[in-house]
Symmetry: C2
């Protein structure tokens, strides 16, 4: 059996709050503990806030391009400026929706720039290197709590073809984000059609069910899932190279 | 806390096995029970097999188009024929990968036609009407076990931009597959960026973690998730109309 345990975080997060302290304190306050083999799933917003990735819009000077696109798509020019800065490439800009590839390689709306659940006239950017954020948190938990946990940092993305958003992994540590069945055979000896499962994305989605959006639950523990451990892990294997994508 | 309980199904499934009997028997054999408010997640393969959606390839006569496309994409012409028959529209056909819109409106590889985990020279098609399959199962569980459960039928789909497949909902009963935050506000009174979460897809993904691909676990119970009940439910809200899709 797999368990998904919600961890409420009380109060606002801002530097110099350290992510590891926030998480460990919250786990304790929720009368839970981290165990070896747990997967700790953390919403991007908390990570970004702790890392100071909050930008006061008063300090953003929009470029000409940003002003033009903002007008065209009904956005704040300063937010548009941040979206352009965070993007490696704009893929679609239509009906007020901007879909871009972020500098990390993720394809999502507004390059992950977000104004919800944040105080004042500001926006939050995705962590600069979510894999590194995950790795540092993993190391700190090992050091401070003596536990071997995997980490998944998630954000909520839309997707083609289907309505509604789902949570996906944008940073991982200690876990292979893909479970491979390549070469495996089914119970009749036939090669499996399904060869690779994005288990980190599935865990991100599972954790979202326990998190919700407005309840102050940005962390969940996934317990009881036997994952493939990886000393060096990254979300890179989850990103399809653009030349191999049939829909770009 | 949310629990995901794997339900092993022993032996092969074939008509006249009834889906409800298979599921209820398996739950009992796994020393589990269905409770009011549970969500029963079931892999498409079992549903299709029970509904006789298995096609012996010896009985399939490929059309000229099927023969041509099969040659071009390294597929069995008879399987290609089934893919064409199950498709409303072929979206991409490249490097041996066929992505189509099924007659139900799902966008997936090979129109869901699958040869893994099936005996002999045969293929399994998606259920003709997965929402109906889910609804019938829900009614039968209510009648036979006296329990109010929601049903999600799932299949494993690839997706643009990201490697690895994840499970998605192709049939639902008793549950609103989308959780809407439209009009909701965050803790600072600002409108939420995220307005609609595809919770049925997230539950399908969560359940996949307990199912795996080769272990004979095609059913999982998701327990402890407070979902929005719906007397009349359908996967239609999960399907984005093509004219509103930026990547078609």
């Amino acid at each position: 059996m797999i368990q998904i345990i919600p961890i409420k975080v009380s109060g606002d997060v801002r530097p110099p709050d350290e992510l590891d302290s926030i998480v460990l304190k919250a786990v304790k306050q929720n009368h839970q503990e981290i165990r070896d083999g747990d997967i700790l799933v953390i919403a991007q917003k908390v990570v970004s806030k702790a890392e100071g990735r909050t930008v006061s819009l008063a300090n953003v000077k929009p470029s000409k391009d940003a002003v033009r696109m903002a007008k065209e798509h009904g956005k704040d020019p300063r937010v548009m400026e941040l979206i352009l800065k965070e993007s490696a490439q704009i893929l679609r800009a239509q009906n007020g929706i901007i879909v871009s590839e972020t500098k990390h390689g993720f394809v999502c709306a507004n390059a992950g720039v977000d104004q919800s659940n944040i105080q004042g006239d500001a926006a939050v950017l995705l962590p600069a290197d979510p894999d590194r954020s995950a790795s540092q948190l993993r190391d700190a938990i090992k050091k401070k709590a003596g536990r071997e946990a995997a980490i998944i940092i998630t954000d909520t993305f839309g997707r083609p073809f289907r309505n509604g958003q789902t949570n996906m992994a944008i940073g991982v540590a200690g876990i292979n984000p893909i479970r491979s069945y390549i070469g495996s055979r089914d119970m009749y000896g036939r090669k499996l059609r399904v060869t690779e499962i994005a288990v980190a994305d599935e865990m991100a989605s599972a954790a979202e069910l326990a998190m919700g959006k407005a309840d102050g639950v940005p962390v969940a523990i996934v317990r009881g899932y036997k994952f493939e451990k990886a000393a060096k892990s990254s979300t890179k294997p989850l990103i399809r190279p653009k030349e191999r994508d049939l829909f770009r």
